[in-house]
């Protein structure tokens, strides 16, 4: 077996893990599984692509940074895209989810997210058509790094970016007042409110973090694979599986779950064939639900 699957798995796992952080936070703090989360990824990727296009139109052609396939426009566009995706999540919450949450039926919110997911995805299809697009068509030469493994400069940069973001979210969750408020709300919403936590603010922060990370994951897929309206929807099952495997509410768990699923997918592609890739997360999901439904780092719900 070729060890290349380690790098492929790490990359797939980073994309899944970044998305799963948003899923796990929404689930533990707002208490619903958001089926529209995958479409935040696709919207983030397309938003970033649009900004890159706009920058290109204003400043002309800009050479990429030495070994990478992209230059500063993509980095600037990614930051703008993250903000835009966060705002999209906030807006969706304002017009839809918050109102349904106020009615107090948790599962209706899930259904609405399902409808919103369908509408968001089809809207992308309408605006950009279903034809795949790319940030760059340049081909990068993969460097051998021993043990038969090859990696491109883009892949190294994106793995580093993922590590920085995960560390950042982890520090935010454990070291800041905002993060502690988020944890308090996920552990006991009523008590959190009594001690004076600003629930509306925590909800806003949750959506912004989830949306921004989804955007990064979407751009990663765009750089390494391609951009399509369905790209996020296809990540939905791996993200849910990763969030549940890691234990709902746990950020490190979501990332670890993502890496495990990414590795398993990459190994399955080598051993069985790429067409069965999507079944891997389902098998892992079912195994977790039968054996240990609270996941690796989960706490039993009270």
């Amino acid at each position: 077996m070729n060890l290349q699957f380690v790098v492929d798995g790490l990359l797939a796992g980073s994309m899944i893990g970044l998305g799963a952080i948003g899923v796990t936070l929404t689930y533990s703090i707002l208490r619903f599984s958001n089926f529209a989360h995958g479409d935040f990824m696709a919207w983030g990727a397309y938003a970033t692509l649009a900004v890159v296009g706009a920058i290109g139109a204003i400043f002309g052609k800009i050479a990429p940074i030495a070994p990478l396939s992209f230059g500063w426009p993509l980095i600037v566009a990614l930051i703008i895209g993250m903000a835009a995706t966060g705002l999209l999540a906030l807006a969706l919450d304002m017009v839809l989810f918050a109102r349904l949450r106020a009615k107090g039926q948790a599962i209706i919110v899930v259904m609405a997210s399902f409808g919103a997911s369908m509408a968001l995805r089809s809207l992308l299809e309408f605006i950009f058509t279903s034809r795949p697009t790319y940030f760059s068509r340049a081909i990068q030469i993969a460097m051998p790094i021993g043990f038969g493994i090859r990696i491109t400069p883009d892949q190294i940069a994106l793995l580093l970016l993922t590590a920085v973001l995960v560390l950042g979210v982890h520090l935010l969750m454990t070291r800041t007042q905002t993060g502690r408020s988020m944890q308090a709300l996920s552990q006991n919403a009523a008590l959190a409110r009594i001690v004076g936590i600003d629930v509306a603010r925590v909800v806003r922060v949750t959506w912004i973090i989830g949306g921004a990370l989804a955007c990064v994951a979407g751009v990663m897929i765009g750089i390494l694979i391609q951009i399509r309206p369905f790209m996020g929807f296809e990540m939905l099952l791996p993200m849910f599986a990763a969030a549940i495997l890691g234990g709902i509410g746990s950020v490190p768990g979501a990332v670890l779950g993502g890496l495990i699923i990414g590795m398993a997918e990459a190994a399955a592609v080598q051993l069985i064939g790429a067409e069965w890739r999507a079944a891997v997360s389902f098998i892992i999901l079912m195994a977790v639900l039968f054996v240990r439904p609270i996941g690796l780092f989960g706490v039993r719900e009270r």
Partner: protein
């Protein structure tokens, strides 16, 4: 004459949708179980029945050439078993897990339909599925009307059976579980056992609808069972009003009329190369419609929605101060 033929064709399709929606109504409307994998269970039924009844085909497994009725029964059996397994795996957990798992079931069924060439014919699907009254195919009107008659009879039987069930002691337990789980359990009813039963019966009905559809069109392919199907059925149930069987039937016909009508409209208004884009706008409109109905009139036309969130203590009210 053409109009009558088209009317029969339209109603047959709409009634097959009603059948799926009736199955979903048993799961969601009556029992409060959230199934996001409707398309998967419909596909299981369609493929099972097709495999059992088609003539022998060297390129794939079977073609067992059995009578159509056996195909339908096989479809219901397999659909029911698949739903029961899904239920057993998830129904002791929070309701969201069922949603995620059923979503996964639909993904996997789609994957098998596409890739297991030996079983499902792969992307090209299965053709030559025997059609009831296939001998009448030369006179389309008669053929359409006789198909409509069969589908109507099946839908009526399922409708009456479900009406009977929902008024039976069994149905009352389901309603009790939906309204107040703890009270029902304290009366000695096993919540999980009843829910698995309801979920399995609902899955069997969806599979039966899939089989009917397969024998009506004579050809099936993985593309028939995309998530958009699940979504259509949900909109049908919500428009009709979950909890009401008559609502499920009328909602299906109504939404299918809107769907087919807007489809015809877009094909008239847009040039052929813009068709695909226009079709996606159609889905946007239906998605927005679903959200608006959930916000404005959650009871639909004939609804009988649960007054309380299901799963008792576990359906805790989420933080609600933000936004509105």
């Amino acid at each position: 004459m053409d109009l009558l033929g088209y009317g029969a064709f339209f109603l047959t399709t709409a009634l097959i949708f009603s059948l799926i929606t009736l199955g979903l109504n048993l799961q969601w409307g009556l029992t409060g179980l959230f199934n996001v994998g409707v398309a998967g269970f419909v596909a299981i039924g369609a493929y099972t029945s097709a495999l059992l009844t088609t003539p022998d085909d060297a390129a794939r497994l079977g073609g067992f050439d059995l009578p159509i009725l056996i195909g339908w029964l096989g479809a219901m059996l397999l659909g029911g078993v698949a739903a029961a397994i899904t239920g057993i795996a998830t129904l002791r957990l929070r309701s969201d897990y069922l949603a995620i798992t059923t979503f996964g079931v639909a993904v996997v069924v789609q994957l098998v339909a596409l890739n297991a060439q030996k079983l499902t014919g792969g992307p090209f699907g299965i053709g030559f599925i025997p059609r009831p009254f296939g001998g009448l195919a030369e006179t389309p009107l008669l053929f359409n009307l006789s198909n409509l008659a069969i589908v109507s009879v099946v839908t009526l039987i399922v409708y009456l059976a479900l009406e009977h069930l929902s008024r039976s002691p069994w149905g009352r337990v389901l309603k009790a579980l939906r309204e107040d789980e703890r009270a029902a359990i304290s009366l000695g009813k096993s919540a999980r056992f009843y829910r698995v039963q309801a979920f399995a019966v609902g899955g069997a009905i969806m599979a039966l609808a899939g089989a009917l559809q397969a024998h009506f069109t004579g050809f099936i392919a993985p593309d028939n069972y995309l998530p958009a199907l699940t979504f259509q059925v949900w909109v049908m149930l919500i428009v009709g009003g979950s909890g009401s069987n008559i609502g499920a039937v009328i909602g299906s016909i109504l939404v299918w009329a809107i769907w087919a009508g807007s489809g015809a409209l877009t094909s008239m208004l847009f040039s052929p190369e813009q068709q695909a884009r226009a079709a996606s706008l159609q889905i946007v409109a239906i998605g927005v419609m679903l959200c608006v109905i959930l916000l404005v009139r959650p009871n639909g036309l004939f609804g009988d929605r649960p007054r309380r969130p299901r799963f008792g203590k576990r359906a805790r009210v989420a933080p609600s101060e933000s936004g509105s």
